[in-house]
């Protein structure tokens, strides 16, 4: 908010970038203030004449992770009004905000004006910045002043900001009214010398081609560069304005998402979207450290590494200027996932298998064993399968007897014997299962043996603690052996506990 105070030029762009940044944050794209400044610079550089270019530029500036990308695209579409369903649907609907108007969405942002010079800067809403700013050439002939009005008008006699929908007189669609009256009135006083001029104007959006042409003619350097000084908004007012705009856009985005032409809603409870998975993995790996190993380093703590020190001292005539020590450094993550695929835990297993798949990309090494009564290596199968069919592919593995009853004792013994090479003292082992062996021996000793050989052992069980001590469940005994037990019945709980689990496994 301080940027416009120092730079009285195209501060519209500052407001615009602040609003866009906020909309991005509602879409779970983490944008820092530094990046908001970058957004502004990109806006200033590219303008809105070429939306593809602008999109690429803004994406490069704001999106740091692949899982943030869909959020960015949604925000960009909502903000800059190029919705996939609205543009090429019916030509008469025109670009941008006009599309959703058919379902009663706003086409104009109108701010009723009072005696505040605030009203002069009517064009800070996203809809107008790419539409309204550009109006100067065509509208000048009609006596239109781009500094004064637009479809936005601001006013000064209401306590709070409100966005309301009302019928537009004689025009199709509805009007969004944002009352800024008395918002930040104290700060506004010093600006009231401008006199009370009521501003009302309106953009005609009935002609999409004209709007597009104006967009194309937009020169971001010229339009507001020569704005008179002293008419700047105070930071307070500007902040409120940005609030109002982002609120408006957020509502817009919300409605767009629930609208009939919208793509699948991002948050459905059934299947967590890849972004969630990515976040869970990121969280898990961020907290997770591999087993420490010693590496020779200078300027560190640890026992002296004589060999490297002597070797290095050869350069300086045998004088050991560089003392190298053996420092503990966490190794890369090596993971062994052992997943129960019997019916009782399948819902959580499906998620874990997909998690494991995503983890492969990021962990150094990751093997996956599936079992009902005997462990089978499904690493290769899981890799080749596509996302949705991961579980199906694993279930179809030869050697996996789905009709058998789970037998943890036998499985643990099998891992110790047949997959002894999968576990070493740098490997973290993650079990997924309910620890119910249906009356067979639980194999506690085998698990203890495994835990001795592995670096860390974690366990994800769908059953709450109170069931652990039932006769057929060995979870109570296992819990004493493994490093961490996470109780998770669905993906959300798993997501919530991922950080803790990662910490325990490191």
């Amino acid at each position: 908010m301080t940027a416009p105070a120092r730079d009285p030029g195209p501060w519209v762009l500052s407001v615009l970038s602040a609003a866009f940044t906020r909309v991005l944050r509602t879409q779970r794209v983490a944008v820092s203030p530094a990046e908001a400044i970058e957004v502004r610079r990109v806006l200033a550089m590219f303008g809105a004449s070429d939306l593809d270019r602008l999109r690429t530029g803004l994406r490069a500036v704001t999106v740091a992770y692949a899982h943030e990308r869909p959020g960015f695209e949604r925000a960009f579409d909502a903000f800059f009004g190029l919705l996939p369903g609205t543009c090429d649907g019916s030509g008469a609907d025109g670009p941008g905000l006009r599309g959703p108007a058919a379902q009663g969405l706003p086409t104009d942002l109108e701010l009723a004006d009072g005696d505040d010079p605030l009203g002069r800067y009517a064009d800070h809403d996203p809809g107008t910045a790419d539409v309204g700013d550009l109006l100067d050439a065509p509208e000048q002939e009609k006596g239109f002043n781009p500094h004064r009005d637009d479809d936005v008008s601001l006013g000064g006699s209401d306590r709070d900001l409100s966005v309301s929908s009302a019928e537009d007189r004689g025009r199709r669609g509805t009007t969004h009214t944002v009352d800024l009256e008395r918002a930040g009135a104290a700060a506004g006083k010093e600006l009231t010398s401008g006199g009370a001029d009521r501003v009302s104007g309106r953009i005609d959006l009935d002609d999409p081609e004209a709007v597009l042409a104006m967009l194309a003619a937009y020169d971001p350097h010229a339009v507001y560069a020569g704005g008179p000084e002293g008419e700047l908004l105070s930071a307070n007012q500007l902040g409120r304005l940005v609030d109002a705009i982002s609120q408006f856009v957020a509502q817009l985005a919300e409605r767009i998402e629930t609208g009939p032409g919208a793509s699948a809603a991002p948050d459905t409870d059934r299947t967590p979207e890849p972004a969630d998975m990515q976040r869970a993995c990121h969280e898990l790996l961020h907290r997770m450290r591999g087993a420490p190993r010693r590496v020779p380093r200078e300027h560190a703590r640890g026992p002296l590494d004589v060999r490297h020190t002597v070797r290095r001292s050869m350069r300086s005539d045998g004088v050991p200027f560089h003392l190298l020590v053996r420092r503990k450094v966490p190794d890369r993550v090596r993971l062994l996932v052992v997943a129960d695929v019997s019916l009782s835990v399948r819902s959580i297993t499906a998620f874990v298998l997909r998690l494991a798949r995503t983890l492969h990309r990021q962990a150094f090494r990751c093997r996956v064993l599936a079992f009902v009564d005997a462990p089978v290596d499904v690493t290769g199968l899981l890799l080749r399968a596509h996302d949705d069919r991961a579980l199906a592919a694993v279930l179809a593995t030869p050697g996996l007897d789905l009709d058998a009853t789970s037998d943890y004792g036998r499985v643990l013994g099998g891992i110790n014997e047949r997959f002894a090479d999968a576990v070493d003292n740098r490997t973290a082992v993650l079990f997924v299962g309910d620890a119910r062996s249906n009356g067979r021996p639980p194999g506690t000793d085998e698990l203890r043996r495994l835990a001795r050989r592995a670096y860390r052992v974690g366990w994800i069980t769908p059953e709450p603690r109170r069931y652990w001590d039932q006769a057929s469940c060995a979870m109570g005994e296992y819990a004493g052996i493994v490093d961490h037990v996470l109780v998770a019945r669905d993906a959300d709980e798993l997501l919530a506990g991922a950080g803790e689990l990662g910490h325990a496994l490191s």
């Binding site: 500036v61 380093r297 890369r332 492969h360 090494r365």
Partner: protein
């Protein structure tokens, strides 16, 4: 430097680097905003090549920092040249003796020595390493930090000062601020998640394999002696191969090699590729298992090669590498694993 993405595209084309329009916008943005550019993507899609082409196109010098595990600040930033300092002191020995000859006590000698500037901690005795070199260079340079995902997180922290402030602090001397603003290009093969702090300081772009048309253009530029139809065939073969779950997908440079090989083997027109395919596969594939799989699929037209498509397959091959299903547990020793990884690139 470059007025628009188009100008950039043109200059790079002069260096035989064919760039996607979207990529061009981002690179232009990085040069205009003078922000570091972080490129992520599988090995062999031209990330490193971009930096050298950019340097050549803009007439800047390329300063390269190749990252590896265990890279420390002595290799990345600067190091005091102790040998040189030692020699310096030895050469000055007589002079020091002269200086201290009149003193009677140790304290006096020490005090007199302290007043003298021996000049041991000056830029002269600093062995500059790439990061400091980029900052000190009077002419603007292109700084390439290659495969930043191979270093540890502590090294990333060290990069932050250089990337964000464009300065390097040497405790004995002070802070060197950039004498010219370097363009910084970081590349990552995405084998490890980079720290958010580093990512936030960079423009970010995900580089993928180019479309067949673009790849054909790249190959024709780099290997002009090869007939156009043959290039198209080789590119198509590479595209099919990238659809298989290979340990290592053919990179662009390997496709260029294969196109050259095809020309050497006397191919002149389309449709003759079948004859020399085994030879081309040795240029494109570097693992025995990959080769077997490719031959089996290509001959049998096994299920699913078309269904995957290059995008899905690229992910699969990366994961196959990270997974190391076949070799992971058996090799055991770190050296062997590292050798494997190096071979994979």
């Amino acid at each position: 430097m470059f007025d628009s993405p188009e100008a950039l595209t043109e200059s790079l084309a002069g260096e035989d680097y064919v760039i996607d329009p979207e990529f061009a916008v981002v690179v232009h943005l990085a040069t205009a905003l003078e922000r570091p550019l972080l490129l992520e993507g599988p090995a062999g899609v031209g990330k490193t090549e971009l930096a050298s082409s950019l340097a050549a196109a803009s007439g800047r010098r390329l300063v390269r920092l190749q990252c590896y595990e265990g890279l420390d600040d002595g290799r990345a930033l600067y190091e005091w040249d102790y040998g040189k300092q030692l020699m310096h002191v030895q050469m000055l020995r007589d002079r020091i003796g002269e200086l201290l000859s009149g003193t009677t006590t140790m304290a006096e000698a020490s005090a007199r020595l302290q007043t003298q500037d021996t000049g041991l901690y000056t830029e002269h005795f600093l062995s500059t390493r790439p990061l400091l070199e980029a900052v000190l260079s009077p002419d603007p340079v292109v700084l390439l930090v290659d495969e930043v995902d191979r270093t540890e997180e502590s090294m990333e922290a060290l990069l932050l000062e250089v990337l964000a402030e464009q300065q390097v602090t040497v405790p004995e001397i002070g802070t060197f601020t950039a004498r010219s603003v370097p363009w910084v290009v970081l590349t990552s093969n995405d084998t490890r998640e980079l720290s958010p702090a580093l990512k936030r300081r960079c423009l970010h772009f995900q580089v993928g394999f180019p479309t067949p048309e673009r790849e054909a253009e790249i190959v024709s530029r780099r290997a002009p002696q090869v007939a156009v139809e043959v290039v198209a065939d080789v590119v198509e073969l590479a595209r099919t191969l990238r659809g298989f779950p290979l340990r290592k997908s053919p990179s662009i440079s390997e496709v260029i090699d294969a196109a050259r090989a095809a020309a050497v083997l006397g191919l002149g027109s389309a449709g003759e590729l079948e004859k020399v395919r085994p030879a081309l596969l040795s240029a494109l594939l570097k693992y025995g298992s990959d080769r077997e799989l490719a031959i089996r699929r290509l001959d049998g037209e096994g299920p699913g090669p078309q269904a995957g498509g290059p995008v899905a397959a690229e992910g699969a091959s990366t994961t196959a590498g990270a997974f190391g299903a076949g070799r992971a547990a058996s090799t055991g020793s770190r050296a062997a694993a590292d050798r494997n990884r190096r071979g994979r690139r």
